[in-house]
Amino acid sequence: MLVFIVRRLGTMVLTMVVVSILLFLLLEINSAGVAIKVLGPYTSEEQRNLWLEANGYFRPIYIRYFSWLGNFIVGDFGDSIRFKVPVGEILWPRLASTGILGLAAMAVVIPLSLILGVLAGMREGSTLDRVISVGSIVTTSIPEFASAVFLSTIFVFYLDILPGTSSMSDGFSVVQLILPAMVLILYDFGYVTRMTRASMAEVMTTHYIRTAVLKGLPYKTVIMKHALRNALIAPFTVIMLQINWLLSGVIVVEFAFAYKGFGALLLEASLNQDLFMIEACAMVAVFVAVITQMIADIGYTYLNPRIRFA
């Protein structure tokens, strides 16, 4: 088990290194371009060269990479071109806001989809199963930007009970969190439900469930003690990987509702060529994704005795 974790950590570090090289190559290889982005298009060649010289852009490429990486590791991401302040000052609060949004969504998605998935998978082919299955397909078929518009129309235009934007300009507001969270939930719960259902349905057809039933265990015990334990291994991984997906989802949702979070920041940075901000956001996003992937893998191994005691 320890070996496994160490090896997993190794892959994680390697992944991050490769990602950092890719980002560096993609965004900083053309140093003239960097200068234009930082100083603006109307600067003279001389000014740019001065800036490049001052910031060490004339050093050999590998030295530039390592110094860039070194700064990155100690948390110095450079200054935002757009906001003219250190990237970290903007990034961390934004990440926290997104964390709140994500947590709110997950707090509903996880219990809801696990319960629905188990109920559907327990008796495959039953009316309940059909309703849940089709329902979850329909909700996952509505893209977030579509449901954002759709829900706004209902709750803002027709019912007029929720605010249409979530910029939180007057401080944190739970009411403003509802619509963005709802959009995330609506899109995501269907997927997790279907995965849970599939896993549960598969477990219900296994021979060991037959053994448990024919052993004379009450149906409730068969489900709770024999089926769930095995059926929830797969959804666990799926849920952990949803965090990766969530980082995508928030871009759309935050954009749609003007929510000041990480996703909106990344989008703005990209549209405004805010170079160092893009780098920082991308690295953070991949870091979060890789970490959750690792937790998912380790958790999967831990939950699965066949691998744990191999």
Partner: protein, 712 residues
Amino acid sequence: MTGNGSSRHDKYDGPILECKNLSISYFTRAGEIPAVVDFNLTLNQGDSVGLVGESGCGKSTVAMAIMQYLGNNGGIVGGQVIYKGRDLATLSEEELRQLRGNEIAMVYQEPMASLNPSMTLGRQLMEVPLYHEHVSEAEAAKRARKILADVNLPDPDRVMSSYPHQISGGQQQRVVIAMALLSNPSLLLLDEPTTALDVTVEAGIVELIAEIAKKFNTSMIYISHNLGLILATCGRVNVMYSGVVVEEGAVDVVFDHMRHPYTKGLFNAIPLPSADKTARPLVAIRGQLPLPHERPAGCYFGPRCDFFQAGRCDVPAHGSTLAMSSVDGRPGHEVRCARWSEIDWDAHKPEGVSGEETPMGDEVLSITNMRKYYELHDNSIAAMIKGKRVRYVKANESISFVAHESETVAIVGESGCGKSTFAKVLMGLETATDGEVLFNGDDVSSQSVQKRSPKQVGSMQMVFQNPFDTLNPSHSVGSQLARVIKKFGVETDKDRIENRVMELLDLVKLPRDFARRRPRQLSGGQKQRVGIARAFAGNPAMVVADEPVSALDVSVQAAVTGLLMDIQREFRTTLLFISHDLSLVRYLADRVVVMYLGSIMEQGTTDEVFAPPYHPYTEALLSAVPIADTSIVKKRIILEGNLPSVMNPPKGCPFHTRCPRKIGHICETKTPPFAEDGEGHIISCHIPMDELRKVDPVIVQADSKSDQPAAE
């Protein structure tokens, strides 16, 4: 509640189980499919009844109906299942629950799949008393531990805290049996409990089951496709065919005086280790099992029966089929045949596979000291520190033997014996680590298949085990055969390739229009025939057949075996027949090579290997084979312990951990020498040959003198 179990048997003195005119159907999109029709059974206290038949005959469905567990699409459509006087159909779900696992318990075919992978075995066992007798945790654990000892599992405490994958298949099955016995049930259902196990492990389980029946006085229903196992475990037998019982009675009566042509056909189709092809040719049952909705009216076996008489056998007399009639003079012997009393079995001599000997030719294959080691990279931290990152798995160790033109050499062994690796090296998918493999005079030991000439490749081909994936489901039979012909350069012209495909189909006795069919439209036996045609497409000098019939039903087995032998004889092909089935090996092999954990234990002519002196492993293997012949008496040898892992084989003699004749320290430390008893009969054992010669034969005809091996 203690004592519940034992008192339960005393209170009730009627039959434990009665099935009355039981009919079971499955309901699919295509409509109702009758799986079992008119099934009757009366089981008294302590009875053991066998249900025997080929796949699809409905035997497992009967067990599931008794358990009232037929799934969403199955149901009892007629008749009753009565357990101790209570009709199970009238019971509530809760009443059923109290019966299941408590009074009626079941043992399943695949032990690994039947145990919950993420729950300790102890917990799974303890659940039975916890939920049925509401005892305390401590009491449940105590009982679980005791029952594990009862099923002869060493170290019950370790087993209790293990997960299923941590113990071997044989041990898993013992745990499943223990689980079934925990509540001391009145009725035990065993559904092919040993089919997934190796033959020496099977022997141990069969013995355990027989012991249980005696010790607990439990009534048993034993379901199997293997007649020999039924003989070893049951008092009565029901022979099933296509959803109906065709014959029932006491085991020795049915085995010795069968009256139904199907029962007779089954016995004619199975090889016995006491006889070879010349003494007792196999007779296949023609045709194939009808699908449930294609069953003929009257006798379901009619179209395949040699005694079929129109106007009598095809007239339904009882529902859609015939009625059972008693065979006079023998109580309880019934048969579902319209003509049983008229058939003169002595006058009927079915034409079997002719067993004439063909003279051997020149040496085709000669293997000397072939070894195949795999490197295994150990990535654990401990190994990194020690610097021992690479370990060797000795898949094949010092393999030496020869095979001649037109000769059949059988390679026998259980799982992990290295048969598959050996086949891969021969075929050039792996290269040997060391040694020489001369094929037609060329050393191919280090020549991968890519480096062999098309002619070389075509002259050594293989027949595979699993009919369900021996053919590519995406391509037609014809195109697959054509590809082989083209690849080996037998023909190049399109029309001539087409012709050759037709010839090959003729060769394996399949209709020519099968060329256009997809594999899924073929039955298992037909697919194996195409597989044989494919192997013979390049006019091979040698064919390696890897368990070619083990996945087929017995009646089909005989036909495919016969076909393979006929073709071999016609082309004077060398046949390397890899098998775990000693009966079949006895039947068709000229020479036998016995392997265990990658090494050859014994080799010689078939007669030599099947008679003393034996290698102790051969002896155990022979003793483990179930034999469907009441006149045979076998020596009883049950091997202790597990089959060791190939990854970590024992030092010295690989068999020493389980050897009942182990002589001492030398077995654990030194690789035994190859001792010769007459020319070509080689035994690898530390026991002196003179000692081994004194060993009694394992298989003896009961009425013959005990010093006469049955084989002679």
